[in-house]
Amino acid sequence: MTQSTCVIIGASHAGAHLAACLRQQKWAGRIIVIGDDDRLPYHRPPLSKALLAGKQSIDQLLIRPESFYQKQNIEFMLNRKVARINRTDKTLQLADGETLAYDKLALCTGARVRRLDICGAELKGVHYLRHYRDVENIKTNLDGQRNIVIVGGGYIGLETAASLRQLGHKVTVIEAAYRVLQRVTAPEVSTFFQRVHQEQGIQLVLDKQVAEFVAAKDDPTRSDRVLCTDGSLYPADLIIVGIGVRPNVELAEQAGLKTANGIWVNEFAQTEDPDIVAAGDCTNHPNALLNTRLRLESVPNAMEQAKSAAASICEQPIQYAAHPWFWSDQCDIKLQIAGFNNGYDEVVLRGDPGVGRSFVAWYLKQNKLIAADCINRPKEFMITKQLLAKQITPEKHLLSDESVDPKRFLEN
């Protein structure tokens, strides 16, 4: 008797969860997970925090232990790359020439860092942060107190800056926009994070474009300065670039599947090919609750969509429709974001972002609550998730009134 095989390309949050969900949903066939990393799937968010700060090792960051996969009979092909998908005969060709047949295929190819294509980009000393090895590389260069320049004031840049500053390094963040987190938060929230990072002793350089990573005079293979377009120079023992990611769509594209800022899937994580699903950072998917298509870079998205993808493979479809949420840890701050603030036209504050380290920015669109940035406000975060699910918008004067318990928003 032949057994059905499900092959999962990508061994990170989406791939790992999809494999577990397949077993949960009683997939009896083989499950093979192919990953280009040399480790079993690990949690990525701690890379810029606990792993960089040396508080946890990579072995402690595994999503599930090896024994789990053995028990569930989930096979891994690590350190391997897929070169091609051949949909006609339902095979994969690996980069090393091996051919692998599939009955069902899941694309969990994730995203890769956007590279800064400027003079000096290839020099030693220029780092990116996506895989655990990137962090290991950075850590081998952290002896003594270092001058570190971080290019990009987004979440990755700021989290990395906070971790390295806590280790005692001199950290400068250079951001091209006039404020940090410009793409994702309201100006009030950006101003708050700028204050916090400056209070920690991090130098923020805003509204400045990086022009070149300048080679060191004593070693032309290594960069030791960052030159901006206005001529200013920043000394750097270490440069870390965090300017966003791009979805890995090439395999899907080459296989003739539709892509457009991600692999195009429906609300059941299915591509146009009935035997191919996709999940995680790499997908462009519809969200019925938000009435729009999205590509999200987050763990909850990877996990929820993977569950839906596994259900489709098992032919018991579960619709993926959830309100997005995100988190970020920087210094002593836990930022929890409920909802998706895209298109907001009003911000209501609860607490004062100018003082202390605790407040909420609620986002409204046409008088409807669509999201909240909760800074050290776990209760408001939890409440906002429920408000969004129930489509409740409290009155604005109540949202901003600290004397009103947010639990009351859920009443009546």
Binding site: Q24, R64, V299, W327, K334, Q336, P378, M382, P406
Partner: protein, 106 residues
């Protein structure tokens, strides 16, 4: 290795050997015990690993404080023995402990 017993809302019982130093949440994830979602992977950001701890063991597990306590005020059906299982690090003394899983993590 301490044995932790998980009881879900419908009364289903599951036992898991959990390494000392791992969390009660890890024990559920590693053994595919349903009902604990652990969306944030255990960094106290999502409150989808809510459990009720057997009262006898509260002196051993301790009670929630700080961020965890705040989150627990807004979970579905909070009780005095509510904890986020990602914040309970298993020790030898927890051998035989029972945790109950709520009906919903939302």
């Amino acid at each position: 290795m301490p044995l932790i017993k998980y009881i879900d809302h419908s009364g289903g019982e599951y036992e898991a050997d959990v390494d000392v130093g791992k969390t009660v949440m890890d024990g559920a994830m590693d053994n595919m015990i349903d009902g604990i979602l652990a969306e944030c992977g255990g960094c106290c950001s999502c409150a989808t690993c809510h459990v009720y701890v057997d009262e006898k063991f509260i002196p051993v597990t301790g009670t929630a404080d700080g961020m965890e306590k705040e989150m627990l005020t807004a979970v579905n059906e909070p009780k005095d023995n509510s904890r986020l299982s990602c914040q309970i690090f298993v020790t030898e003394e927890m051998d035989g402990m029972t945790v109950r899983i709520p009906e919903s993590q939302y």
